[in-house]
Every structure is written in C-alpha cells, then in structure tokens.
Symmetry: C2
Subunit: 235 residues, 2 copies
Amino acid sequence: MSAAPASLCQLPPYHQHPRCCLFTKLSVLTMPEYKLIYFNSRGRAELARWICAYGNIPYTDERIPKADWPSRKPGISGGKLPVLMVDGKQLPESLAIARYLAKQAKLVPDDDFDAAVCDALVDTLSEMMVQVYKTMFAAAGDEEEKKKTYKEELYPNVIAPVLVRLNERLSKREWFIVDKVTWADLAIGLMFGGLKMKQPEILKGFPAVEAHVNKILQIPKIKQWNDSQGPEETF
Amino acid sequence: MSAAPASLCQLPPYHQHPRCCLFTKLSVLTMPEYKLIYFNSRGRAELARWICAYGNIPYTDERIPKADWPSRKPGISGGKLPVLMVDGKQLPESLAIARYLAKQAKLVPDDDFDAAVCDALVDTLSEMMVQVYKTMFAAAGDEEEKKKTYKEELYPNVIAPVLVRLNERLSKREWFIVDKVTWADLAIGLMFGGLKMKQPEILKGFPAVEAHVNKILQIPKIKQWNDSQGPEETF
C-alpha cells in the first residue's frame, strides 16, 4: 500500500480533501480484499491488527464468538486461527500473516539482513510469549503456584534474558533497526506493553525498553486503535 | 547470490571454464562471509545447510562439540543455537536464518503472498516438529509410552492433519507454490524425510507427499550434501 504524500495528508481534514480522497480510493482499489479471522481477543491476531492500523490497511476484523468456533473450525484450513483471507485465499499462521501485512505497510526493512534481524526478534518474542501463556495465563492451575513459577523460572530464565539484550540495544538507538519504525518495534510495544498490564513491575531496571514501549503506545494510530477497543472475550 | 547463466553453466566441466570461474569468483567476492554455528547434528540448522547446498552459498559449517557448549554459550547472543554470522554480525533464530539464506539462494518467491504462503508452511512444519521432538525424541521417558503417545495423539492430532492438506495440494501441483522449487519444498523434503527415517510408515496413504519428499531428496545438490554427511552427535 502506498501512503499518501505527507503534504497532502497534512491538509486537514484529511478525509474531506478531494485529492486525498481520490488518492486513497485508488490505493484501496489496487489492494487485495483482506479479512482477518480470529476470536474476540488480542492474542495471536493483535500484531496484524496493529500493522493494519499503522499502515491504514482496510480489512474486515471478523471475531468469532467462542461458542461458534466448533461449527466454524471445519471451514478453516488447518483448523487454527488466525487466518487472513486475501481475495478469498486463506493465509494461516500469525507471524506469516503479520510479516505479509508489514510488507504492505512498508514496515519491513528493504535490506535482507535488516529484515532477517526483525524476523529473528519477532520469533524470539513469540517463543517467549508461548512460554508465558503456557504457564501464566492458562485457565487451570493454582494461582500461588503460577506466581512462584513466574518468579523463579519464567522471569529469570525466559523474560529477563530477552530484556537485557533488548535494553542494551535500545539504549543506543532510536528504533530497533534502521532509522524508522518497523514491525519489530510494534512487536516490542505490543508484547511488553501487554505483559506490563499483567505484571506492572516487569520493565523495572530496563529503562530503554520501557521508554520504547511507551513511545510505540503513543504512536497516534496505535493509540487510536487501542483506545477504540472494547473488552475481550476470555477463554 | 546470482546464479551463472544456464548457457555457461552447461559447458562442462563447469569449474574449469574460464568465464564461469570469473563469474563465480565475482559472485563470491560480493557475498558476505557466512559462518553457521550449531551442534554436530541436523536439528534446527539443517534447513539452512540444505539451502546453502542448493544455492551454492559458501559458508563455514562450524559444529560445536556438546562438551564445549558451556564455555561457548556466553559468547552467543541469546545463548541459543543456531546462529548465522554474517560478516561478523550475529543472526539468531533458525527460521530467520533459513529465510535470509533462502532469499540469497533465490528460493523465496517474488510475490509477497506466495512468499507468505511459504512462511506459513515452514512455521506449520516447525511447530509440528517441536511437538514431535518434545514427545518422541526426548532422552528421558519410557519407549512404550512414547509409542502409545505417537499412535494415539501425535500422529492423528498433529502429523496427519498436516499430511492431509499437503497431500491434497501436492497431488495437483509440481511444486508447493509457483512453478519451481522454493525453501518450502526443501522444508517438506527435510522434515518428512527425517520423520520417515524414524517412522518408515509415516507417509503411507499420502502418495503425493511421499513422491514430493523423494523428488526433493533426489535433487542432485541435496543428494550430494546428504551423502557427504557423517554421523551426528547424539544429545
């Protein structure tokens, strides 16, 4: 997707300016029709939603109520969500979806090595989140036991090593890689921002990461998206 | 990496032809210096090694003996292998490494959606292998119990659903996507070829997948690589 030139975009009100309207309409006409199918929760779909919000990518945000999932599941290739429908074709796997949309939103660096470093960070954060979900946010299990596991295993062995490296890197740079925001920066804001809501002390001792998360959360399109969201369905 | 034009490559013997030599030398000169660091096993590094073999990408294949890992670990950012050194810079995460090398070997489709479908398949296969390794190839655990888990859970719930979809797709196409081999095809050959060595019956009932795996294993550069490999260190 091509962004409208800044000189046009800055003319308020954006959506009422005739040239902007034409430009936006033309961009949208050449774009595939997207539908993101997931549950009514952030989970594995939220990075894709943030990327669409940041990149002005129009899409249908279909949220399947938990009760409807058994009847919908057979129609989903692979039987797992999220799935992105691209002109009616199914694309599964949350990170493949996010990377694809990030390319359309110009959130992937042009250089192959820089793009690979983004991929590696997103994979690392995703693996960390899998471990966090498995132990902390599982429906079953004793709450005291979970707190102990978090303190003695999850935080020191899984979360802190990522924070140490990230803090060192971000204390020397404005963005994770290259000189502008990429989908890796959005992933940092989303994942550590989400963890901070559950564990308010988690970024203590990592000021560069904390500042980065706050910076991402204050990006106007991200803030506007987050502010617009209602309560999630819990599982 | 640019491949030498077919008309030159077909002049035997390839490496003695002066124009081919010059071309190859120039390609190598503009390429970063690669070192792939892993253990002496296929594991999470083998897809990258196959991609390098297929794409004639020169690299140092460093294999750390298990006994040396504790002393080497602190020097590896993130403390996990594999890592690809690219002109001295570390790139972690096996799939980020494989995707990066696949781009250099022209094994990633040009179209964004096709590339994303490859990413999604590789992620699906990788998640399947994580589950397989966790239950089947773990050092601890009763062998009879493992067989039961494989038969009653792993095969019907994790492996077979992937095989069903893949068999349907491959029965209608020569390659997984587009009209030539991609890194997704190599991943199919590597992962199901590896599983078949452990479970010879695994592809029974999925003739299109079996034929595809055999086709990949017979690609001359892949066959040559596999034939050149000695025994792995077991963990």
